[in-house]
């Protein structure tokens, strides 16, 4: 295996995982659990 190719493959996979993780984060935050978190935080501040 060409070391440059191996390095590139590793770099590609790493970036793909980062982007995939980001997409998953967006998916999870689309569930409105944070509405109640804001409510609880708001009440705590008051």
């Amino acid at each position: 295996m060409n070391p440059r190719n191996d390095q590139l493959r590793h770099k590609n996979r790493r970036l793909a995982w980062i982007l995939g993780g980001f997409a998953l984060l967006v998916l999870i935050t689309s569930f409105p659990f944070w509405q109640n978190i804001f409510k609880v935080l708001g009440e705590a501040v008051r």
Binding site: L8, K11, N12, R13, L15, A16, L19, G20, F22, A23, L24, V26, L27, I28, S30, F31, P32
Partner: protein, 536 residues
């Protein structure tokens, strides 16, 4: 940008798989691009057939061919097939074919994931078609009558066909996100040595912005329909007011996806135009940097103006003012792109082959669609136009020229490169004129229908709307059947024709024109060396 290809050798040592294995197990970007394009063409005809049925029904007032539920099912099916089945896969097909060739990469960064991204699509397409078909079987439940927006509470009440649709959307979303990840990684990591981001062809830039948009918005739609599924089957009340939920939340989630989706459909075609216009004007693209800035601005602002689709839900004055102003601001970067195209053509040595005819038509008709968009962005006006045929006319004037005609232009522009044969220019021009005439006959009268008060998504209408509806339906038949000519031209070009040169078009510039027509199975295995003389 110029390049040296001293080491480029087309690597004959690689296997060229044949038969069904070539397509099923393919990791080759050109083969996968072809598969995407064939899938999109199939879906285009299915979505087109449903549109023609809708227009056949609306030819006269009263109920002739369809029943109301089937009519609404067709409206839903048409939109989903066209958006998710035809336009997005076609744009992905162009991306797969052209991005590696344009940036001097041997393939996409993650070829196996590329294979997966495509092969999810036929499964998703089958689910989508099943969602249309299932109600016709015993016990199949009611038809989907929600339109593509799937608003609850109606979408919670629909029969099992909605579950097929939800899973189809999940699969389509997974395919889109995987393809987007692949495109971003390819563009960021696989460019030929010496090619900076600001030297990338504009088509690549449009896809970089599009791919980021998809990663940001598709998971939100997936989340929305997952909650819908939970409300339907698992006793949750995300969108049920009686259980403490809010149906308007779904609208926000849907349009947070739905509005940027418009730019997802538009931007790749803008990228195609950014290549076609300089080629046939025989001038470099005017304002490369401003084009890049404009498309990033369109993507960014487009993410934060979704609720202009929801003015009538009763938002606060502050909220509607914000969404109105934000929406109108988008016309600035979009206008800048249009002016850049006009400036590119200015004093150019223009010729009007089929791709350029489409490009000029797109500029005119897309601008028209944009202007009616500004009308719809204004809150008091939108209160009148909302859910009328004016909206249908508007978004077809945006999406047909802005997205579909751009893809047609791209197909005509690159078909000689892909097949090694020139298409029949005379037939191409005939197709253009029939297609564009049919399109305008179909959708121009719908502006008047909407302004006069005809609602959308209703099978019947008042007799006062008869004449414009008849014209629109005749136009739709011309428009719909004209695509058979497109199919004939494509098949004819694949089967033979005048051999295409490597460069194909006299004014074409870029790495993709340096490889043979058709390109060998493997290209750019030794990357070209980019000399940094100019940046566009």
């Amino acid at each position: 940008m110029s390049y040296t290809n001293a080491l480029h050798d087309e690597a004959h040592h690689h296997d060229n798989p044949t038969g069904w294995r070539r397509w099923l197990f393919s990791t080759n970007h050109k083969d996968i691009g072809t598969l995407y394009l064939l899938f999109a063409l199939t879906m285009l005809f299915m979505g087109g057939a449903s549109a023609m049925l809708i227009r056949a029904e609306l030819f006269q007032p009263g109920i002739q061919l369809l029943d109301p539920d089937l009519y609404n099912n067709l409206v839903t099916n048409h939109a989903l097939l066209m958006i998710f089945g035809a336009v997005m896969p076609a744009a992905a097909g162009l991306a797969n074919w052209m991005i590696p060739l344009m940036i001097g990469a041997p393939d996409m960064a993650l070829p196996r994931m590329n294979n997966l991204s495509f092969w999810i699509l036929p499964a998703a397409g089958t689910m989508l078609i099943l969602s249309f078909v299932v109600p016709f079987f015993p016990g199949g439940g009611s038809q989907i009558n929600t339109g593509w927006t799937l608003y609850p509470p109606l979408s919670v009440q629909v029969g099992m066909s909605m579950d097929f649709l939800i899973f189809a959307i999940h699969l389509l979303g997974i395919s889109s996100v995987l393809a987007s990840i692949n495109i971003i990684v390819t563009l960021l990591n696989m460019r030929a040595p010496g090619m900076t981001l600001m030297q990338m062809p504009i088509f690549c830039w449009t896809w970089l912005v599009t791919a980021f948009l998809l990663i940001l918005v598709v998971p939100v739609l997936a989340g929305g329909v997952t909650m819908l599924l939970f409300d339907r089957h698992f006793g949750t009340s995300f969108f049920d007011a009686a259980g403490g939920g809010d149906p308007v939340l779904f609208q926000h989630l849907f349009w947070f996806f739905g509005h940027p989706e418009v730019y997802v459909l538009l931007l790749p075609s803008i990228g195609v135009l950014s290549h076609i216009i300089p080629t046939f004007a025989r001038k470099p693209l005017f304002g490369y940097k401003s084009m890049v800035g404009a498309m990033i601005a369109v993507g960014t602002i487009g993410m934060v103006v979704w609720a202009h689709h929801q003015y009538t839900i009763g938002m606060s004055l502050g909220a509607v003012s914000y969404f109105m102003i934000g929406t109108i601001i988008i016309s600035i970067p979009v206008g800048l792109m249009i002016f850049n195209f006009i400036a590119t053509m200015w004093r150019g040595a223009m010729t009007f082959e089929t791709p350029m005819l489409f490009a000029v038509a797109i500029i005119l008709m897309f601008t028209f669609g944009g202007l009616s968009g500004v009308m719809l962005a204004v809150v008091p006006a939108d209160m009148q136009y909302h859910d009328s045929m004016f909206v249908v006319a508007h978004f077809h004037y945006v999406l047909m020229p802005g997205a579909v005609f751009g893809l047609f232009a791209g197909v005509f522009y690159w078909l000689p490169k892909w097949t090694g044969h020139m298409y029949d220019e005379r037939l191409g021009k005939i197709f253009f004129w029939i297609n564009v005439t049919g399109f305008n006959l179909t959708f121009f009268p719908q502006h008047f229908l909407g302004l006069a008060g005809m609602p959308r998504r209703i099978i019947d209408y008042n007799v006062m709307f008869t004449e414009f509806n008849a014209i629109s339906s005749v136009g739709a038949m011309i428009f719909g059947f004209s695509h058979l000519l497109l199919l004939y031209i494509i098949i004819k070009t694949i089967r033979g024709g005048e051999p295409a040169t490597n460069r194909v078009w006299e004014g074409a510039k870029g790495l993709e024109w340096e490889v043979a027509s058709p390109p060998p199975f493997h290209t750019w295995e030794t990357p070209p060396l980019i000399r940094q003389e100019q940046t566009s």
